[in-house]
C-alpha cells in the first residue's frame, strides 16, 4: 500500500552504541508526538489582539485566550473537534483545489527533499508530502470510504489533540514558499494545504502573534507597524532630508493626493526600518528623476498582507483596502514596490477576491508609453517591470561606477519568482546598475529558488534557531558565490527578505550585505542638477 512508502521515506535506522542519544526514531511518524520547547514555536496571539480582530467586519477569529503550546492543556473550546471537522467539510466544499490536493497525491516522494525546512532539520514531518499527510490522514478518516472502512491501514487517523498540536507545529514550519510544488508532477501546492491548516487552527483560537498583530495593525491604521498617517508621512519626510543631504536633490512626494495619475504602494518596512529605508530612498529618487505624477497613501500604507498567512477573509479585506484607496483617490493605476507576498496576493487571488478593478485603467507608463498588458486584470505594475522599461527606453541615466563597492548576487524571492514569474526584469536592471554580478547555483535560483526561511510571519525572533536552520539552503548558496567570486551584496525585491536575509547573513555569511534592487538603482541614478557627495557606500554612506 502506498502509505507504507511514506513510512519508508521517514525511517532511518542505526545500530550500536552512540554518544548521540535521543534523536533516533523507533516508531512510525504518526506515533511520534510533537514536543514544544522554547525556540521551536512562535508565541501565540495575544488575547486582546484576537478579540479586536474578532470584533471586525467580514472576519472571524473566535476563542481568544491565554494559552501556551508547552502546556498539556491548550484550553480548547469544548466542542473543538466538531469545529475542526465542520471547518474542514466547509473548506472541502468551497475550495476545489483542497479537495483535489487531498485526493491526488501518489506519494512519489519527488517533493520530499525539496523543502528548506526538511533540508535544515532532517525532520520527516517537514517533507511536504508528510506535511500534507498531517491533514490528509484526518480527511481520509472522516471524508473517504476507504478511510472509514480501513482506518489506519488506509492511512487514516482520528482527529485528536495530539494531531491538532502536530498541525500547529508544522503549519508554522512551512513558509508557504511553494518550492515543493515546482517538483510535484501533479502540481500539488503544499502552501495551500498549510493555509488551510492555519485557517482551521484559527477556528479554535490557535494562531501566532507575529502574524496577528501586524494583521490587526493593518486593519486599524493601514500598516503592519500601526503607524499613524502623521508618523508615516513624517518618516518619509526624514528620508527626503537624507536624500537632499546626500545628493543635493530635493524630492517632494505628495500624500493622499486626489487626481494623481498613479498610486504607489510598498511595504511599510521600506518606510520605517533599515535596510528598507535605502530602497525607499531609491524609489523617491527615481520618481523625482522622471517627474512621475504619483501619490503615496497614508491609509493604504502597507503593501504586505499578512492576511495571506491567516485566512482567506482577512487576506481579502487587507487587499481590498489598496483598491478602495485607489478608487477614492481617483488614480489611473497602482505601482507596487518591492514586496513579496503582496504580489502573490495580487497575482493569484486579487481578481477572484476583489476584482475586477474596472474603475482603474490598464497601466501605461506615462514616461515611455508602454502599456503593461500583463497587468490588465490587476491594474498593478511591479516597480522592477516599471524600472526595466525605463532603462530599455533610455529614459534614465545610470552610472555603474557609483556601485563600484558592490559585487552582487541575486536572490529570487519566492513570491515574485514563483507566484508572478518576475525573473528577467531584476536581472536586466542589475546588468545596468552594477559592473558585475554572479548567479548562485542553478538549483537554488529562479523557480527553484530557496526561501529565506522566515516568510509567512515566521520572521519573529523567538524562533531564531528554526529560522537559521530553515535558511541554511539559501545561505549555503550565497556562501558559495561569496567564496568563489568575492560577492559582498545580496540583492532582492522583498521587504521580508531584506530584513530576514540580513539576519541570516549575519549568522552564515557575515561578509555579505543585503540590499534592495531599487537601492542599487538609486545609487547609480544620475539626476540633472544633483550635487552629489562622494558616496562610497551609495545611499548608505554616512555623511
Amino acid at each position: 500500500m502506498a502509505v507504507v512508502k511514506v513510512d519508508k521515506l521517514a525511517r532511518s535506522v542505526v545500530e550500536g552504541p552512540s554518544l548521540m542519544t535521543g534523536s533516533i526514531p523507533t516508531k512510525p511518524w504518526m506515533e511520534i508526538p510533537v514536543k514544544f520547547k522554547p525556540g521551536n514555536y512562535a508565541y501565540t496571539t495575544k488575547p486582546d489582539i484576537l478579540k479586536y480582530l474578532d470584533s471586525q467586519q467580514g472576519v472571524s477569529f473566535p476563542n481568544a485566550r491565554e494559552w501556551n503550546p508547552e502546556d498539556d492543556d491548550w484550553k480548547l473550546p469544548e466542542n473543538w473537534k466538531e469545529i475542526i471537522i465542520n471547518g474542514l467539510a466547509d473548506r472541502l466544499d468551497r475550495f476545489r483545489s483542497l479537495k483535489i490536493f487531498m485526493d491526488c497525491c501518489v506519494r512519489c516522494g519527488a517533493c520530499a527533499d525539496k523543502c528548506h525546512f526538511f533540508l535544515g532539520t532532517g525532520d520527516p514531518k517537514n517533507m511536504p508530502v508528510l506535511r500534507a499527510e498531517l491533514l490528509r490522514s484526518v480527511y481520509r478518516n472522516d471524508f473517504t470510504l476507504a478511510g472509514k472502512l480501513l482506518g489506519k491501514m488506509a492511512g487514516a487517523r482520528e482527529m485528536t489533540v495530539g494531531v491538532l498540536k502536530e498541525w500547529f507545529m508544522y503549519a508554522y514550519q512551512c513558509t508557504e514558499c511553494r518550492r515543493c510544488s515546482v517538483f510535484c508532477p501533479y502540481g500539488i501546492d503544499t502552501a495551500e494545504i498549510t493555509m488551510m491548516l492555519r485557517e482551521l487552527l484559527h477556528l479554535v483560537g490557535c494562531g501566532i502573534n507575529w502574524a496577528m498583530e501586524p494583521v490587526a495593525n493593518s486593519n486599524r491604521t493601514g500598516n503592519h507597524m500601526g503607524l499613524t498617517p502623521q508618523a508615516f508621512k513624517g518618516n518619509i519626510d526624514f528620508l527626503c532630508e537624507d536624500i537632499e543631504n546626500l545628493t543635493g536633490v530635493k524630492v517632494n512626494p505628495t500624500f493622499n493626493r486626489k487626481g494623481a495619475e498613479i498610486l504607489f504602494i510598498t511595504p511599510s518596512a521600506d518606510v520605517f526600518a533599515e535596510p528598507g529605508l535605502f530602497t525607499c530612498m531609491g524609489y523617491l529618487l527615481l520618481f523625482e528623476a522622471i517627474g512621475l505624477d504619483y501619490t503615496w497613501s497614508t491609509y493604504a500604507s502597507e503593501g504586505g498582507n499578512f492576511g495571506l498567512f491567516t485566512s482567506n477573509e482577512m487576506m481579502k479585506k487587507l487587499n481590498g483596502k489598496m483598491y478602495a484607496e485607489a478608487k477614492r483617490l481617483g488614480v489611473k493605476w497602482i505601482l507596487g514596490g518591492e514586496c513579496g507576498h503582496m504580489w502573490r496576493v495580487v497575482h493569484q487571488y486579487m481578481n477572484t477576491m476583489n476584482g475586477p478593478a474596472d474603475f482603474l485603467e490598464v497601466p501605461r507608463s506615462p514616461i515611455t508609453g508602454t502599456v503593461f498588458e500583463n497587468a490588465k486584470a490587476t491594474k498593478m505594475v511591479h516597480i522592477s517591470e516599471f524600472t526595466a522599461d525605463l532603462i530599455k527606453n533610455g529614459k534614465i541615466t545610470l552610472d555603474k561606477s557609483r556601485n563600484s563597492h558592490v559585487k552582487a548576487t541575486w536572490h529570487d524571492s519566492c513570491n515574485t519568482a514563483r507566484a508572478m514569474g518576475l525573473l528577467e526584469e531584476p536581472r536586466y536592471i542589475l546588468d545596468h546598475v552594477v559592473d558585475q554580478w554572479w548567479e548562485m547555483p542553478e538549483n537554488t535560483i529562479r523557480e527553484k529558488t530557496f526561501c529565506c526561511g522566515s516568510g509567512t510571519a515566521l520572521n519573529t525572533d523567538e524562533i531564531m534557531e528554526l529560522r537559521m536552520r530553515a535558511g541554511l539552503p539559501r545561505a549555503n548558496a550565497v556562501r558559495y558565490v561569496h567564496e568563489k567570486h568575492g560577492v559582498n551584496h545580496l540583492g532582492c525585491v522583498c521587504a521580508i527578505d531584506r530584513a530576514t536575509l540580513t539576519t541570516l547573513m549575519n549568522y552564515w555569511v557575515p561578509e555579505v550585505t543585503v540590499c534592495g534592487l531599487s537601492e542599487l538603482v538609486g545609487n547609480a541614478l544620475v539626476i540633472e542638477g544633483e550635487q552629489r557627495q562622494e558616496l562610497d557606500e551609495g545611499l548608505r554612506t554616512l555623511v
Partner: protein, 177 residues
C-alpha cells in the same frame, strides 16, 4: 605500518562510518547520506566535507587554526538544530569510537589500539574547539535576536505611539462578541 599510515589507509572506511553515524543523528537521514549535491543537500554535504577535512588535518598534526574552518562547517549547522550542546559536538568525540571499531575489526591492525593515546588527545582538542565554536554560534544567535528587537517593530508597536495607545484602550474594554 605505523598508526598514522594505517589510519590513512583505512581513511575511506573510517570516514564513511563516521559520517554515517553523524548523519544518523537526524530523524530522517536517508537523503542527507545519499545526495552529493552540495546545494540540494547542504547539511549532508557540509558535514561530510567538514569531517573529511578534519580527519585529514588531525592525521597531519595540523595546528589548531587550520581545523577551525572545517569544524565550523559542522558545528555552525548543529548549533541551530534541535540538539543539546552535548549532542551537537558529540560527533567529534565519536571519531574515537569509530577508529577503534575499524582497527579492531581487522586482526592485522588490532595491536595499534594501544597506541591511540596521542591521537585521542588531538581529537579531544578538536572537540574542545568545537565546544567553543558552539558557544560562539549560540551567542551570535542571541545577538541577532537583540539586534532585530532593537532595529524595528517593537519600538514602534510597543511604545507610546497613538495607535498602541488606542490598542490599550481596546484591551481595557470588555470583550466584544
Amino acid at each position: 605500518m605505523n598508526l598514522i599510515e594505517t589510519l590513512k589507509s583505512k581513511r575511506k572506511q573510517i570516514l564513511s562510518t563516521w559520517v554515517d553515524r553523524t548523519l544518523d543523528s537526524y530523524v530522517s537521514s536517508g537523503f542527507f547520506k545519499r545526495s552529493r549535491d552540495k546545494f540540494a543537500n547542504p547539511v549532508g554535504v557540509n558535514i561530510r566535507e567538514g569531517l573529511s577535512s578534519l580527519f585529514d588535518l588531525l592525521l597531519s598534526k595540523a595546528p589548531r587554526e587550520e581545523y577551525l574552518a572545517p569544524l565550523d562547517q559542522v558545528i555552525r549547522i548543529r548549533a541551530v538544530q534541535e540538539f543539546t550542546p552535548a549532542q551537537a559536538v558529540a560527533p567529534i568525540l565519536e571519531l574515537k569510537w569509530v577508529v577503534r571499531q575499524v582497527l579492531s575489526a581487522d586482526k592485522n591492525t588490532r595491536h595499534l589500539l594501544s597506541e591511540l593515546d596521542s591521537f585521542d588527545c588531538d581529537i579531544d582538542r578538536a572537540a574542545l574547539a568545537a565546544f567553543d565554536m558552539y558557544t560562539a554560534c549560540r551567542e551570535q544567535l542571541y545577538e541577532n535576536r537583540i539586534r532585530e528587537l532593537k532595529s524595528g517593530s517593537y519600538i514602534l508597536t510597543d511604545s507610546g505611539c497613538p495607535s498602541s495607545l488606542a490598542r490599550r484602550g481596546i484591551q481595557d474594554k470588555p470583550p466584544v462578541h
